[in-house]
Assembly symmetry: C2
Homo-oligomer: 252 residues x 2
Amino acid sequence: MTAHPHPSPSPTGSAAPRWQLIADELGADISAGRLAPGQRLPNEAQLAERFGVNRHTLRQALQALARQGFVQARQGSGTYVRELVLDYALQRRTRLTQSLAAAGEQAKRELLASRIEPAGAWAAELGLARSDSIELLITRSSVRGRPVGVSTAAYPLPRLAGMAEAFARLGSITAALQSLGVADYTRQRSVVSARLPEAHEADALARAPTQPLLEVVYLNVDAQGRPVEAGRTVFAADAVQLSVNAADWGQP
Amino acid sequence: MTAHPHPSPSPTGSAAPRWQLIADELGADISAGRLAPGQRLPNEAQLAERFGVNRHTLRQALQALARQGFVQARQGSGTYVRELVLDYALQRRTRLTQSLAAAGEQAKRELLASRIEPAGAWAAELGLARSDSIELLITRSSVRGRPVGVSTAAYPLPRLAGMAEAFARLGSITAALQSLGVADYTRQRSVVSARLPEAHEADALARAPTQPLLEVVYLNVDAQGRPVEAGRTVFAADAVQLSVNAADWGQP
């Protein structure tokens, strides 16, 4: 069920090199869940023996799997099935709930906290005065019971009063915005960076403080170009990749 | 000269809260280079004394600076001027050399290595047979003498024979492709992830192995949609952010 970036090619004919066949077989094991995310592969000597090849050939297979996003080598520790579970497309209509839905039934987004406060540092993004009010929602996204992202998003008041209640009822930011009269919204800007987590972020994501985050700072606007949501999401980088596809943005 | 994501707002009137004025002043010091990238700020007690405010107010100012991308708190170690030097726009015409040029005179891209080899794992991306040949270029981008990214890119042969020589002569991938008959190319897909570096990557970027990377795996195609470049770039995450702007992709 894992959404890997480059699905394993269908088994190739006997013309394919030996390492490619091994990579295909291991990739199929991962796609089918016979090798689970986070699991360590047997060591190179064991795998080489299992497939009846030398270490060099085996290493070529593991390198191909790593390039395809199936596994990740950790220095001095071995090769692990990558914990990638979510492909989050940055596109004109970027929708986290839809990306989660694509990850399967066990994906969900929950409200951790909400509060009403002065716009402060969010004011400029949202076209408000600093003393205007916003509603702040903190939500957590999980796949198969494992947290993958925590979002902090600000909504302008009084226009969007009731977002927390609407989200709690409808389970989706898009549905909540629609219920408050925002028929459509698009992503105006995303800024992506990577860093190590703060302690509270590592806690919320159930990750070690040594595991990097992907951070997306974003602004969504309605059909008239008015800001409706400014926010930032931190994703556990072992579980999420971001994709930007020309086709998703329409041709020029 | 640092390309920060959210430039400091112009000094506000006396109606602005005290913490905002302090954030503006420190932000101006950073923009002007009076506080250098990587430098640690004086501790909170010293700063509070300098500005004649209590710790709470000072902390609000530092939080605003962090949100604006000027500084970064490191747990148990203090607050540092962020080493962000490069904003790399993922857009229809994504051009690393242009992003570097925007970072100023001291930015450059150099050829670390090149070789000709079977297409292998690059074949599918480039629409080649695995036994076809590619030219592989490994380049390093630096700003103000500090490495910010290392790119590994594959070009299909025989069509683009001579890329390494052309790049060495012209100093830009875009110019090298043009000299080989590719008048224009566009970004078809970028996949962004974050992870800790391998030892050789940390070496090439002159970073500690505990400092995260931003990795971009990409495909560029010519005006006819034929792949001309498949590659991956690892960026030092303390020095680079990626941006995706709707305006760069044209309206639908």
